[in-house]
């Protein structure tokens, strides 16, 4: 039964300290069955990157991470040639030190594997995390297309490399810009939003066992309220967990003004947001 397999995947993720709902578990299951990349979009700090880590733990395989940034190109993402080494061999050959035969400088010996090529060659098939793909340029997106549809990379000097067993590919995006339709079409899509209060309390309890269940719920409610205040940097799950850790370290039985005042820096990361929350009144947080 599919239900059982999806439920089993959920439990495995839970054991890897990741709380996934039915929808996410179902899409993950389908992505693996159909050998399709999974594109996760959502606000910053909802656990998109953590999901890839959890999947690699569940499957017991290596996690290969490609962090995207503006200016990322094929030489940093796919493969590169070891040019200094090639140059040395070429010079040695022409000066007669290497036997005089025309050297082949495009062999594996000179090939530097970057994350995408490494993901195709690694066995067992790893989990490949292409993180914050929206930060890369459109040109890089075009580079990804062949990889995502065929799990193949073409190196002009060597031909095509294709994965025997395709890696599990997870792309994340914070929507700082829109991704092309061509890229989206090759992926299954999941919009990962902020969790519900109950889910967030469960996640906090999972990551910070020392925190009391009532405090975990208080924190989840307070963070949910903060996210509605149009802050410059709304707190994500990582901030909730940090805050819970800080509260647990202070051995506080519940949130109150002194605890909140001391630990607010775990939650809010800009001066403007801190001022806004102080203006509105800290009491709104522990009475959320």
């Amino acid at each position: 039964m599919v239900d059982d397999r999806v439920e089993k995947l959920r439990k495995c993720l839970q054991n890897a300290k990741y709380v996934a709902d039915e929808g996410l578990a179902m899409v993950l299951y389908l992505a693996q069955r159909l050998n399709r990349p999974l594109l996760l979009e959502g606000p910053a700090g909802v656990g998109k990157t953590e999901l890839a880590k959890a999947v690699s733990v569940v499957r017991g395989v290596e996690l290969i991470r490609l962090q995207c940034y503006e200016g990322l190109d094929a030489a940093h993402a796919l493969y590169d040639w070891d040019y200094p080494k090639q140059l040395l061999l070429t010079r040695a050959t022409f000066s007669g030190e290497a036997g005089g035969a025309a050297p082949d400088i495009y062999t594996d010996h000179f090939l530097i594997e970057r994350p995408l090529l490494r993901a195709l060659k690694t066995k067992p098939a790893p989990v490949l995390l292409i993180d914050e793909v929206d930060r890369a340029d459109e040109e890089f997106e075009a580079l990804l297309l062949e990889f995502l549809s065929e799990f193949q990379i073409t190196i002009p000097e060597r031909g095509s490399f294709r994965a025997e067993v395709p890696p599990t590919v997870i792309l994340t995006s914070n929507r700082t810009r829109d991704l092309s339709d061509a890229l989206r079409r090759r992926c299954l899509y999941y919009w990962l939003d902020y969790p519900s209060v109950e889910q967030e309390a469960a996640i906090i309890a999972l990551h910070v066992p020392d925190v009391a269940p009532t405090v975990a719920r208080q924190i989840a409610r307070a963070v949910r309220r903060l996210r509605k205040w149009s802050l410059l940097k709304p707190p994500g799950l990582a901030e909730s967990i940090d805050w819970a850790r800080a509260v647990a370290d202070l051995a506080a039985g519940e949130l109150d003004e002194s605890v909140t005042r001391l630990t607010l820096g775990c939650l809010l990361k800009t001066q403007e947001d801190l001022e806004l929350v102080r203006e509105k009144g800290l009491a709104l947080l522990w009475n959320a």
Binding site: L34, L87, R185
Partner: protein, 387 residues
């Protein structure tokens, strides 16, 4: 390219396959850009899923057909209509009435006595509003035209140095390109190739006045804001009347109808530009960087104290590269910027232009209004069409 793979589809009846086939054109009618590849993927998903559990089908198909938060939000409703409730009729499209002054009524919602229609390529966001106060005109051709003009405008903004940009000093050799060429010359790098550094994206802060006097210009200004979010810019969009509200996340969508009225509940009638700018400086000071451009779209009719506006404008102009004021009334014959608000702001504006529709927007961009003015903010450097 999706390959047709019939493995596993044998368990599905022809009726199920036909329903899924019909679902794709049904979604296309509602603005989804999907086709045969999605149908094939959906069928493969259904082969893996339990057809007797609707939630499971919904989860599976949503990940195939939806490609944006807006589509993600509207998909369950469409799924239910197609698979679980086939008798439902299309709802009538709600239309916005335009302003009285242009011979229409006052922005109230009415339903038309005409057959139900579905707007072309426009789709409600993930939380569709029942009343769009400042909805875009559903005119994809104008949106595309505005976007094309805005593309030209982007080239004029000041572009800060990129992440790996180093002014002066030694540039880095691009070893890859140098080596590739040197292979032709027996390994002698006769010509060095240098790294190309790209400047960073320009930063733009757009402030749109949505008070009553700007009502007729709101759709175009919203379209303008939308076009800025589609380009290679770091753009933040705010609306203001008596207060300021950040609406970037509401505008920066592929399919946008406007800003739902529920999102603007805290903005009251009237205009207090000074207070709104103070709020911008106080709460969003991090956006006002040295290379940022601030664009204010307002007619300048201000009910606040002129001194507050003057001080806020002065502070703003000192912090950013330049301030551009788009005044939709400037093109009107006989209009002079002599209202108290406009007079207080004028000394700190670098460019003062008429923008109220596509033609005036094109004219402004052709006039290079976004080229930074490097003269000191004071004394006044005002560029009007007449001067």
């Amino acid at each position: 390219m999706e390959r047709i793979d019939l493995n596993g589809l044998t368990g599905m009846t022809a009726a199920v396959i036909r329903q899924v086939q019909d679902f794709t054109p049904f979604l296309r009618k509602h603005g989804f850009r999907v086709g045969t590849p999605e149908t094939l993927t959906a069928l493969r998903c259904l082969a893996e899923a339990d057809l007797s559990v609707p939630e499971e089908l919904l989860f599976a198909l949503r990940s195939v057909y939806a490609r944006s938060p807006a589509e993600w939000g509207s998909f369950p409703h469409l799924f239910n209509r197609h698979f679980l409730n086939p008798g439902t009729r299309l709802e009538e499209k709600k239309r916005i009435q335009a302003d009285e002054r242009s011979g229409h009524s006052r922005g109230l919602i009415e339903t038309q006595d005409r057959p139900p229609t579905v707007s072309f390529s426009m789709q409600p966001g993930s939380s569709p509003s029942q009343g769009e106060r400042y909805a875009l005109q559903v005119d994809p051709s104008q949106l595309r035209a505005v976007l094309a003009v805005s593309k030209r405008a982007v080239r004029q903004f000041d572009r800060p140095p990129g992440r790996r940009f180093r002014r002066g000093g030694r540039d880095r050799v691009n070893l890859r390109a140098t080596m590739r060429e040197s292979v032709r010359y027996t390994g002698e790098p006769l010509r060095l190739h240098w790294q190309q550094y790209r400047p960073d994206r320009p930063s733009v802060v757009l402030l749109i006045d949505i008070s009553g006097s700007m009502k007729e210009h709101a759709p175009f200004m919203t379209a303008l804001a939308w076009s800025f979010t589609r380009l290679r810019l770091r753009c933040e969009v705010f609306v203001f009347s008596t207060r300021l509200k950040r609406v970037t996340h509401l505008v920066a969508r592929k399919a946008v109808q406007g800003i739902p009225i529920s999102e603007l509940a805290e903005l009251k009638g009237g205009t207090r530009i000074g207070e709104a700018l103070e709020e911008l400086l106080h709460r969003y000071g991090g956006l006002l960087r040295q290379h940022a451009s601030v664009i204010i779209a307002s007619d300048g009719f201000d009910a606040g104290h002129p001194d507050r506006l003057r001080v806020a404008m002065k502070t703003l102009a000192e912090r950013v590269r330049h301030v551009v004021w788009l005044n939709p009334l400037l093109g009107d014959p006989g209009y002079e910027p002599i209202s108290s608000g406009m007079s207080a702001a004028m000394p700190y504006i670098h460019r003062f232009v008429d923008v109220h529709d596509l033609d005036s927007w094109r004219e402004a961009v052709e006039g290079q209004v976004f080229r930074p003015v490097f003269a000191p903010v004071t004394p006044l450097t005002v560029h009007t069409q007449d001067v």
